[in-house]
């Protein structure tokens, strides 16, 4: 169940958009899809959304094949494209009514569902505006509502957070978490790693159309993963010397701060204790990158 992707490949002419991607997203979990621009995330999601056929490999959505059983798959998925276009003449409400009709929902059910969703994405007071005049973030929220109309068991969201204000992002996080906790499969692509780390259970890192690694983002990972910490002290020379003496990989970054790479929170705590014990007058000691960010940068390093 959930989403299973095995060795999928898709080319456009001689552009190989997706070379070899393998991933699995479980029901009840939020799975993040991260990777550099042009790494094939959108193309993969299009294949999952039954719009593109893979040239090789297999896809299963709730055990169904999107190529041979597109209708059954469509009934189960909610897809939110990265650029959400709308019919210029329809109001927000009418957009959702139309989508509901396209899912064969009876009219009264469609109206009720529309109101529910408008409340969920905080668009109730904009319901009678033309969809085309919405701001980018509002359009993005309408896109999310649109993807939820048919009460899907698998959600495929392509950069849902782009353009959202800070509060909406936090709300989106809560929405995704609650959708997952209802037993749905949520696959979300995004570039905002710090946020993904808060919401995702698992991250799949892709680059150049290939899966590089799949990373669990549970407490275990956070406490053991290699992460960068920023250290500042009253006497930077002393700090640098101390770090060099103890063979801690470090580099100077902006603002006179020093960045050190430490594997796991346990080690970070020990490093701080040692620094203080040896009389380095530390004024700041903060994680500068999330664990996911570090993992991502490490995995995609060869790009440079």
């Amino acid at each position: 169940m959930g989403v299973e992707v095995q060795g999928v490949r898709r080319a456009f002419g001689d552009v190989l958009a997706v070379d070899d991607i393998t991933l699995s997203a479980q029901p009840g979990e939020v799975t993040a899809l991260v990777g550099p621009n042009g790494s094939g995330k959108t193309t993969l999601l299009l294949m999952l959304a039954t719009l593109l056929a893979p040239h090789q490999g297999s896809i299963r959505i709730d055990g169904l094949d999107p190529v041979s059983q597109p209708r059954e798959v469509r009934a189960r998925i909610g897809w939110m494209p990265d650029g959400f276009g709308t019919w210029d003449a329809l109001t927000v409400r009418e957009v959702l009514h139309t989508i509901a009709a396209a899912y064969n929902l009876p009219a009264d059910r469609a109206r009720a569902r529309t109101e529910e969703l408008l409340t969920l994405v905080h668009l109730d007071d904009l319901g009678d505006r033309r969809a085309r005049v919405l701001s980018r973030g509002q359009k993005q929220r309408l896109g999310l509502a649109r993807a939820l109309v048919n009460d899907p068991s698998v959600l495929l969201l392509d950069e849902p957070a782009s353009g959202l204000d800070p509060r909406s992002r936090i709300e989106l996080r809560d929405v995704l978490r609650s959708l997952a906790s209802e037993g749905r499969t949520v696959l979300v692509s995004s570039h905002i790693l710090t946020e993904l780390q808060e919401v995702a259970d698992r991250a799949v890192i892709v680059a150049r159309g290939r899966t590089l690694e799949t990373q669990r983002l549970d407490a275990d990972f956070v406490t053991t993963a290699l992460a960068a910490w920023r250290v500042d002290a009253l006497d930077p020379e002393r700090l640098t010397a101390w770090l060099a003496d103890h063979h801690v990989p470090a580099r100077r970054v902006g603002g006179g701060q020093t960045e050190v790479q430490v594997a796991g929170e346990e080690n970070a705590a020990r490093l701080l204790a040692d620094l203080v014990r040896d009389g380095v007058r530390v004024t700041a000691f903060t994680p500068s990158q999330g664990a996911l960010e570090s993992a991502y940068l490490a995995a995609t390093e060869d790009r440079r």
Partner: protein, 379 residues
């Protein structure tokens, strides 16, 4: 495919159109234009001996067809690739709507709008009917054919919009196809007529050249009082008109256009189909007034082309002014109009083209897509 799905798509399309473009304005302009043309036709042909109803009917029907062929393609020719550009096509393709729902829904919407244009032209056809010379059944038949032709035109536009990535390209292709159907067939027929024209021996039924030689007027002055009886007889003989009894069969070399080999180009033209389906009624035998009836001329011309040259060229009627049964000569146009119509071929062809285009359009809307045209993103 389901009626519910088709209706959902059609309702969406119609709502979009009615709100985004100035349809009331366009429809109003259309109404005024047709009104203007009808008034002009009425004034130009209104006369005691003329039957202005016929002329008005012909002019209005042709004008409606011509203008509709400009408007209807614009309803569908950019609908699929335009939607794709706006990013709203894929949104529907991931729902339970099938590719047929999408194709047929768009067609139904375009068709409904073209029906609105036809309805706006109805009062003027009613006026033509009121003026006399055209039966309501003919008007009804030509309207049915018009509706079908417009449906085909809309389907062609839809097909091109699924075939090209850019709306401009599909619009151009659609109008080029319209041009090929309307002007291409006429030009093609005219040009290839040279290929089927030849000099060959033909059987002629008429006055042989010798008759005229025998009846040469003698070099005599009829007012000369000194004419002999023999000369007088010679003179009166030369004043005799030829009669049917003088006609004989003989063979003569002449140029013949075998239009029966190329006539099939003509009914591919929507104008010929509409004209031939319901030309106005023949004018009453006793009235020598002629009327402006382009549909009748086109219809007769197409049928004459289909019939080809006659086995025996009947010149007798022309030179003696009488036909076999003694009545005043039968107009060859009237004769052609009595033969089988050509429009069923044309309409059949157009409907086949329409069905083919609809099938292509539906197929091109099918997802998941294996081959994507170069340079298009599906979403």
């Amino acid at each position: 495919m389901s009626w519910h799905g088709i209706r959902t798509v059609a309702a969406l399309e119609l709502r979009q159109r009615l709100r985004t473009s100035k349809w009331p304005l366009v429809l109003g302009a259309w109404f005024l234009l047709v009104a203007l043309v009808t008034f002009l036709a009425y004034y130009a042909t209104h006369d005691q001996s003329f039957r202005s109803g016929q002329a008005m009917y012909d002019v209005v029907i042709f004008f409606v067809l011509g203008l509709a062929m400009l408007i209807v393609p614009s309803l569908t020719a950019t609908s699929v690739n335009g939607d794709r550009e706006h990013g709203v096509l894929a949104t529907l393709q991931t729902t339970l709507l099938t590719h047929w729902d999408l194709a047929l829904g768009k067609l139904v919407a375009a068709w409904a709008i073209s029906l609105a244009f036809l309805v706006a032209a109805l009062p003027f056809l009613a006026w033509a009917w009121f003026e006399g010379g055209v039966s309501a059944a003919r008007i009804a038949l030509s309207l049915v054919v018009l509706v079908l032709v417009l449906a085909v035109v809309g389907t062609l536009g839809l097909m091109f919009s699924t075939l090209t990535a850019r709306p401009v390209a599909s619009a151009v292709l659609t109008y080029l196809t319209m041009g090929a159907l309307v002007f291409g067939t006429a030009i093609g027929f005219a040009l290839s007529a040279f290929l089927v024209t030849d000099t060959e021996a033909r059987t002629v039924y008429g006055l042989p050249d010798s008759w005229w030689q025998e009846h040469q007027p003698p070099p005599l002055d009829p007012n000369d009082p000194n004419l002999t009886a023999e000369q007088r007889e010679q003179l009166s003989k030369s004043q005799l008109q030829p009669t049917r009894a003088d006609c004989v069969r003989f063979t003569r070399n002449g140029t013949v256009a075998h239009t029966e080999r190329i006539w099939w180009m003509l009914p591919l033209n929507p104008f010929v189909v509409v004209a031939d389906a319901a030309p106005s009624e023949p004018r009453p035998q006793d009235a020598y007034s002629s009327a402006f009836t382009p549909m009748r001329w086109i219809s007769a011309g197409a049928r004459m082309a289909r019939n080809g040259p006659e086995e025996v060229v009947d010149e007798c009627q022309l030179s003696t002014g009488t036909s076999a049964d003694g009545s005043p000569g039968v107009d060859p146009m009237e004769k052609a109009l009595g033969t089988a119509p050509v429009w069923p071929y044309g309409l059949g062809f157009l409907l086949l083209v329409g069905a083919g285009s609809a099938a292509v359009a539906g197929e091109r809307l099918r997802t998941p897509i294996r081959r994507l045209p170069n340079g298009t993103r599906i979403a």
